[in-house]
């Protein structure tokens, strides 16, 4: 089925795209360049087999797998799936695969499976076939069927992408409600603490392999203290170091505060300033200048 390596490849790719989705101002993804080679964006796959080495990986990324690549090879030469020119296509496909191997790219297993399949079909085509044998045994049939099927859904995906979609093509109307005599307030959803706690447990179970042990052992009190420190800095830009410590909290409280400060400094959230040796130490937000409000 699916190799772990392949899974990793997809996760990496997907999160990359998520990133783009959130921040990019680009037009639809189909117009995204395949790659930028020597400063020149490549918007279409290269017409010949040569792919600049630094673009190969991204080129490979542009395909949704071996079917997609095969379809591309077939379409590029105005060939028909129905008369699948298996020798030509196999040759070209293998050239790509060889190129990928040369580049020592972690070649997705699916591409190799396809290579094997093509090689097998090719060898069966070379075998002499009895005249009376019908098309059923055309070694290409299965591949042709699957190529067609994949192409059908590739097209369907494009069609779905074209449908008028919320927030891209239309917004829902939502007018304010008038106040009226009963002074009606819209109820807020009720939340049970258990739901919050279980939600967290579930994310952590899901993300366990990514979680650093160091973080997971952090006491929550330190997190809260970090927030409290930042809250104080929201009111006043400079706060003297000592002011964060409350002797009444005992040594554990002082340690928690100290750790929270260290953590904030490490995270580039706050900075320490001292005008000269032995002068009071001040804590200030790391951000210089006015803080812009988050645009939502």
């Amino acid at each position: 089925m699916m190799l772990n390596r392949q899974l990793g490849y997809h996760i990496g790719k997907e999160s990359l795209v998520t990133e783009i989705d959130l921040n990019s101002q680009e037009s639809p993804q189909t117009e995204l360049p395949f790659a930028v080679v020597k400063g020149e964006p490549m918007t279409v796959p290269p017409q010949d087999l040569y792919i600049p080495p630094d673009a190969l990986e991204i080129f490979l990324d542009a395909f949704e797998g071996p079917f997609d690549l095969l379809l591309y090879l077939i379409k590029r030469q105005n060939l028909d799936i129905l008369t699948l020119p298996i020798f030509k296509i196999t040759q070209q496909y293998m050239e790509y695969v060889e190129l990928m191997k040369e580049m020592r790219l972690e070649l997705a297993a699916e591409y190799l499976v396809m290579a094997a399949m093509l090689a097998e079909i090719k060898s069966r085509m070379l075998l002499p076939r009895p005249v009376e044998e019908d098309d059923e045994d055309d070694p290409r049939s299965e591949l042709m069927r699957r190529l067609q099927e994949y192409e059908m859904f590739k097209k369907a995906a494009e069609d779905i992408n074209e449908l008028p979609r919320m927030y891209r093509d239309t917004f829902e109307v939502s007018v304010i409600q008038a106040e009226y005599e009963y002074e009606y307030e819209r109820p807020q959803p009720n939340v049970d603490l258990k739901d919050v706690v279980f939600a967290f447990r579930e994310i952590m179970q899901r993300a366990q392999m990514f979680a650093s042990h160091h973080i997971s052992r952090e006491p929550l009190s330190m997190r809260e203290r970090m927030s409290r420190i930042l809250g104080m800095l929201n009111v006043e830009d400079f706060v003297e170091f000592n002011q964060f410590f409350d002797a009444n909290e005992g040594s554990s409280g002082v340690i928690v505060t100290f750790l929270a400060l260290l953590e904030l400094i490490k995270g580039h959230v706050v900075e320490l300033v001292q005008s000269e040796p032995f002068a009071p130490i001040y804590v200030k937000p790391a951000v210089k200048g006015p803080i812009e409000d988050e645009v939502l």
């Binding site: 089925m1 699916m2 190799l3 392949q6 899974l7 997809h10 996760i11 790719k13 997907e14 795209v17 783009i20 989705d21 959130l22 990019s24 101002q25 993804q29 949704e64 797998g65 071996p66 079917f67 997609d68 799936i81 129905l82 997705a108 699916e110 396809m114 019908d134 098309d135 059923e136 049939s141 042709m144 069927r145 699957r146 067609q148 099927e149 994949y150 192409e151 059908m152 859904f153 590739k154 369907a156 995906a157 069609d159 779905i160 074209e162 449908l163 008028p164 979609r165 919320m166 927030y167 891209r168 093509d169 239309t170 917004f171 829902e172 109307v173 939502s174 304010i176 645009v295 939502l296």
Partner: protein, 213 residues
């Protein structure tokens, strides 16, 4: 209750609601009144309201879970400037997976991978589930009991569809079966049947089809 008031209430409710409202929901607004407007009256009101949108910047659209006012797509480029945020875009991998779930439901992840020829990342399934475009509608009784995925009303709502019937039809398989008649390819109609089965979740869909505008 006079007709004008009924119409005003329905217009205001549809405009204030966060989501589409169906006829039942609209009728419930009147449940404390002496006289509840008939379903037909509400439908007639909606039809009038739809006609009154003619030439305006908003339209009253019928989607899977009911009726909703939304901005017309021709004014979208300007209205979108109200927000800094760009609408999310979706990868081909996600859209292909979605299209397989939509057109071939119920379908397992393995079956999707089979057609696409590559693995489907958990990421994609998670995103689709979270968007509430697909959901687990059962489990296949084979070893491992893989989840069977199907599309949701939210999917239809999001893509401005009343029912799966409105989806672009799948490209017809080329004459492969003519060239190789023995291949016994599934007819596209098989998919249509699946669609119809799934569509039945809203009784009103059928009888208001002709009122689309």
């Amino acid at each position: 209750m006079n007709d004008i008031l009924v119409k005003q209430i329905i217009e205001a409710a549809l405009m204030a609601a966060d989501a589409a409202l169906n006829i039942d929901r609209l009728m419930q607004l009147f449940k404390l009144d002496d006289e509840i407007p008939a379903r037909d009256q509400i439908k007639a009101v909606i039809k009038t309201l739809q006609e009154e949108c003619e030439g305006r910047g908003v339209e009253l659209k019928r989607v899977a879970s009911g009726y909703r006012y939304q901005t017309r797509s021709d004014v979208q480029p300007w209205v979108a400037r109200l927000w800094q945020e760009k609408p999310p875009r979706y990868t081909r991998a996600l859209l292909e997976t979605l299209s397989l779930i939509v057109y071939r439901q119920p379908i397992t992840r393995g079956e999707i991978e089979e057609v696409r020829g590559v693995g489907v990342s958990s990421q994609i399934i998670k995103t689709l589930l979270e968007r509430e475009w697909v959901r687990v509608i059962g489990h296949k009784e084979v070893p491992g009991r893989p989840a069977l995925y199907g599309s949701t009303k939210q999917f239809l709502d999001y893509f401005n569809l009343k029912s799966l019937d409105e989806l672009p039809s799948l490209a017809e398989l080329m004459d492969l079966d003519q060239v190789h008649p023995e291949l016994d390819l599934p007819e596209p109609e098989v998919d249509e049947k699946v669609q119809l089965r799934v569509v039945t979740d809203d009784g009103e869909i059928a009888d208001t089809n002709e009122t689309r505008h």
